[in-house]
Symmetry: C2
Subunit: 280 residues, 2 copies
């Protein structure tokens, strides 16, 4: 049986770079190297030059890029074009995810899908689950793409709702079960967002859903555990481990791209080492 497109593409992207690292392209104007503001005439060209340098430097050590929509929207008029151009700068053998956490009723969700999968031509996107299947379904109509549903997020206040107990199970476990069933008709099309900051929950979810791609934020600035991530990756490697600030701003000087490459390579090697230890 042929593997579903997205899963096959993810495996290929991981094999080429021997990496599970996803680089988060969240360009913050206030954190670009100082010289950029002098060298480039507009925020648009500064951000594009920064993104291009980061992509070139980190491509050998990463399998995916995740573009956080908020950072582009805060650029105003040029935001969409910077987002679209950045997607086009990413090598085609990488997975390109728009982290937009959209979620709305059906007719609106189909407009979001049109923008993210149609116009931006992303391979994946993130979606919030609060409104149920309606928010996800229009994205599933795009073959070979993946929708990563927020299950257990990495932020401090994530417990407020996600850990509420209903029928003896935390809310996030209900969401995981629901999201899994949404994907049954579209194999490989549903992924989970599960933070590295809750290692036990990450492991439990991995055991329950071994065939679902996991997008794992929370490493680095947010303090998540490499070991937990490695444990989740062990069955078949279907995890994307995101690092944004830890790679983008490894240095604020002229060597930002070299230092970003170092940070990406170091994360890749740490992850691979931890995975190999788990597999032993």
């Amino acid at each position: 049986m042929m593997k579903p497109d997205f899963i096959q593409r993810l495996h290929d992207a991981q094999n080429i770079s021997d990496s599970m690292v996803c680089v988060g392209l969240d360009p913050d104007l206030n954190k670009l190297p100082e010289s950029f503001h002098v060298r480039y005439g507009s925020p648009q060209s500064a951000v594009l030059a920064f993104n291009e340098a980061i992509i070139q430097a980190t491509a050998p050590y990463s399998c995916a890029y995740k573009l956080n929509a908020a950072f582009y929207e805060s650029l105003g008029s040029c935001g969409f074009d910077v987002l679209k151009t950045t997607v086009s700068l990413i090598p085609k053998d990488k997975i390109r995810i728009i982290d937009a956490k959209r979620g709305d009723i059906g007719n609106t969700a189909s407009k979001y899908a049109e923008s993210i999968f149609g116009l931006l031509e992303a391979d994946g996107c993130t979606v919030a689950p609060y409104m149920g299947l309606d928010a996800v379904e229009p994205f599933l109509a795009y073959e070979g793409r993946a929708v990563f549903v927020l299950i257990r997020t990495s932020n401090p206040s994530s417990d407020q709702l996600q850990s509420l107990i209903a029928d003896g199970k935390p809310l996030y476990a209900h969401v995981a079960h629901l999201a899994f069933t949404w994907g049954e008709e579209f194999p490989g099309s549903i992924g989970f967002v599960v933070g590295a900051t809750n290692p036990t929950e990450l492991r439990d979810l991995r055991n329950l859903y071994p065939g679902t791609p996991f997008l794992i934020p929370g490493i680095g600035a947010q303090g998540g555990s490499i070991d937990a991530v490695a444990s989740a990756a062990t069955p078949n490697g279907l995890v994307l481990v995101n690092s944004s600030r830890g790679i983008l701003y490894a240095s604020s000087g002229e060597d930002f791209d070299k230092m970003a490459a170092n940070a990406a390579r170091e994360l890749r090697d740490k992850l691979n080492h931890a995975v190999n230890s788990h597999a032993d």
Copy 2:
């Protein structure tokens, strides 16, 4: 004691127009009057001309406008400018809400707030609650604006999570309580999104949170109850009743603006009549 800015502005906007109607500006290129595609050279100018005509025609009968971000994002490059120009076309005595349902970790949520409250200068926006306070807090830093948190949505699959029972209460009731507490330090800054399609729940929430502004979708195309909305409005009128498709596409011919005005006036009058009956 002075009333909080947003609540005062909402009362003023409602008094001027004697209306609780919020017009949903969700412009769908496929539903514009046929002549628009011939008359205007670009999607951008067609949508702006449509929005301007709708705003002019409906302003006498409405207190607010809600712009659904998805419909603008699906326009691509020009989406942000069309959104920003549309906000600027709305009379300043109306409430202007960006319906974006954003929700992310703190550093990202602050970028969304910068875009929606900073660049677009909206008075309110919608936010999804799944990630907890972190997703809402950066918006609260903007004085006099309101964040409408999704509590009980109007779509068919809203039950899947929102009706799960935790500690004897449905999830949406937990979200309402949490969102209410988030606003305690910032009076008038938190509103609730509660659909008109669940009349009993709408009434119950209204009784528990009589001082919170409610943004109520689900009237019209989604089949919500005018009577339930009127009942929720009775204590103090702090409700915004949204209609999008029922007003925008009341006619697909050249009389679209006149028919939109009629639909807005009719909804206003029905709501006011029902509220007066409840108050008797």
